[in-house]
């Protein structure tokens, strides 16, 4: 009997969807807008995330060693650093010779400096370790590894005698500001996303409520012939799910040309993320999110909207 009931409910839902063509079309269009907003927040989240990652990637700290520092000790510090959970491996070791070559390369047009360097007769530059944190906010805890005292950067003294200096202090302000910007951007993005999604869902819910309002007499008749609550609700629930599914497919199709069109722009403007490539490479995930959101919003809205008229 349960199977027959389910079959009848699904059947009635399909028929109701098909026969109320204009109403179905307008509901679908409203839901397309909602799902479009949800999809757009996925894309903007990806753009924001990728941009922030690129910026984060440009932030690092350098540990400068004294010129007499033995290579084994530097390498042992490097190995210890790589064990830290906050660090994004690899920690790059730049030898004294490489530092000198890089220095000469950077000052190749500055004859005066190069001449002064030659006059010294020996390499005055120490080796360095280049460190990147997984998150900019973690630099402070990484710096504490070196036993540096004081966050004011005025009395920094390392527990390692071979370390000349750590340029965290010079970068601290920039890192702090960037950390704040990243956190604010993430928070703002999250609030905006939630706000837009809630608004879109409310619009869809109200549209479906109007559709069901038109069926209120029908619902009361169903009640009076003795139909159970679920038997009345079922077809509306199914029709809502169909609205959601079709809207999701339309939205996914619409995103195809739009992402192609925006692909190059986003790639040039937002440090390297081509939105079309992102769409195609994450299609499975985006498909699931959009379709599940559509079906859930459609069916749950219909389910809730029928409640009012089922009190007879």
């Amino acid at each position: 009997m349960l199977w027959i009931k389910i079959k009848r409910i699904v059947h009635a839902g399909f028929y109701s969807f098909w026969r109320n063509g204009f109403v179905s079309l307008s509901s679908i269009l409203v839901m397309v807008v909602t799902l479009f907003v949800i999809g757009s927040t996925i894309f903007s989240g990806a753009i924001l995330g990728s941009t922030l990652n690129q910026i984060k990637d440009k932030v690092d700290i350098n540990v400068y060693f004294v010129t007499t520092a033995p290579e084994e000790e530097i390498l042992s510090i490097k190995t210890s650093l790589e064990q830290l959970p906050e660090i994004a491996p690899p920690v790059v070791y730049v030898t004294r010779e490489e530092v000198l070559a890089d220095f000469k390369n950077r000052h190749q047009n500055d004859e005066f400096t190069l001449q002064a360097l030659d006059e010294l007769g020996e390499n005055p530059l120490g080796a360095t370790l280049n460190i990147k944190a997984k998150d900019p906010s973690q630099y402070e805890s990484i710096v504490s590894f070196f036993g540096l005292k004081g966050s004011e950067c005025s009395s920094l003294e390392s527990k390692f005698s071979i370390i000349d200096k750590v340029n965290y202090c010079q970068n601290k302000d920039a890192i702090d500001r960037l950390t704040n910007i990243i956190n604010s951007a993430n928070r703002l993005g999250f609030i905006l996303t939630i706000f837009l999604i809630v608004i879109s869902i409310l619009i869809t819910f109200n549209t479906l409520r109007l559709v069901i309002y038109m069926s209120r007499d029908e619902i009361s008749v169903m009640r009076l012939v003795g139909a159970s609550t679920n038997y009345i609700r079922g077809p509306f629930f199914v029709a809502g799910a169909i609205y959601g599914f079709i809207s999701a497919i339309i939205t996914l199709i619409l995103f195809y040309p739009i992402t192609i069109w925006l692909g190059n722009t986003t790639e040039n403007f937002f440090v390297g993320l081509n939105i079309f490539h992102y769409y195609t490479s994450n299609f499975g995930e985006i498909f699931l999110i959009i379709v599940c959101s559509g079906v859930a919003i459609g069916s749950i809205s219909s389910f809730l909207a029928t409640r009012k008229y089922l009190k007879v």
Partner: protein, 226 residues
């Protein structure tokens, strides 16, 4: 079979819809309830169908007190009652066949029973040829006949007809009354509310006359006297 025991209905604004109503209806009876608009006829039917609860008194169907029924029990109870409305209340996006089949589906009848009974009941109201039409393709009289077919398809014990001829011309009114009489002759209790003097006078059945929420007359073979 149906018994109203000192039933009153007072709304929140203190307007009195029914006041101390008591009467009984026996099985296979044909009872007409007459009265001006606002006399309380529709409220009385709504309370019998469990759409509204009485403020005072009790309503019995056989030995069941309707006001004590739970929601699922109300559904079961309503399946024993056929209802015909003045405004037909057909489901607009279902065709004639589906409108009637819906009442059977709600009662948990099988597909085979539905396929056999729907054409049969449409034959009783002379509408087999309109089986696949939608409500907007039917005349008022035809819609009301579909509504009656839907009301009787589950072979209910009682058919409630709330002003079924209110929107119909005299010819269709006559047809509908004849169908209701036929249903009654086949053993179903019929409760009819109407304004139509001609209908009441031609029926020569029991008439309850209501005024201001009270029953002022109960005549065995009554006429329309207001």
């Amino acid at each position: 079979m149906i018994h109203f025991d000192k039933v009153s209905k007072i709304y929140l604004d203190n307007s009195i819809a029914l006041e101390d109503i008591s009467f009984s209806i026996e099985p296979k009876e044909f009872v007409s309830i007459v009265g001006h608009s606002g006399a309380g006829k529709t409220t009385l039917l709504k309370m019998f169908l469990g759409e509204e609860l009485p403020t005072k008194g009790k309503i019995y169907y056989e030995s069941i007190d309707i006001s004590t029924l739970k929601k699922s029990q109300i559904n079961d109870f309503r399946r024993k009652i056929g209802v015909v409305f003045q405004d037909f209340r057909l489901i607009p996006d279902k065709n004639v066949y589906e409108n009637i089949a819906f009442a059977m589906e709600a009662s948990g009848r099988t597909d085979e029973e539905i396929e056999a009974d729907v054409p049969h009941v449409l034959g009783l109201v002379d509408l087999e040829r309109k089986m696949w039409n939608f409500p907007h393709e039917l005349s008022g009289g035809e819609k009301q006949r579909v509504s009656i077919a839907r009301a009787i398809v589950n072979q209910p014990d009682v058919v409630i007809a709330d002003e079924p001829t209110g929107n119909l011309d005299p010819l269709n009114t006559y047809d509908i009354v004849q169908i209701l009489k036929k249903i009654n002759d086949l053993g179903t209790t019929v409760v009819l509310t109407t304004h139509n003097k001609g209908v009441i006078d031609s029926l020569k059945k029991r008439v309850l006359t209501m005024e201001n929420g009270k029953i002022i007359r109960d005549d065995k073979e009554g006429k329309y006297v207001i």
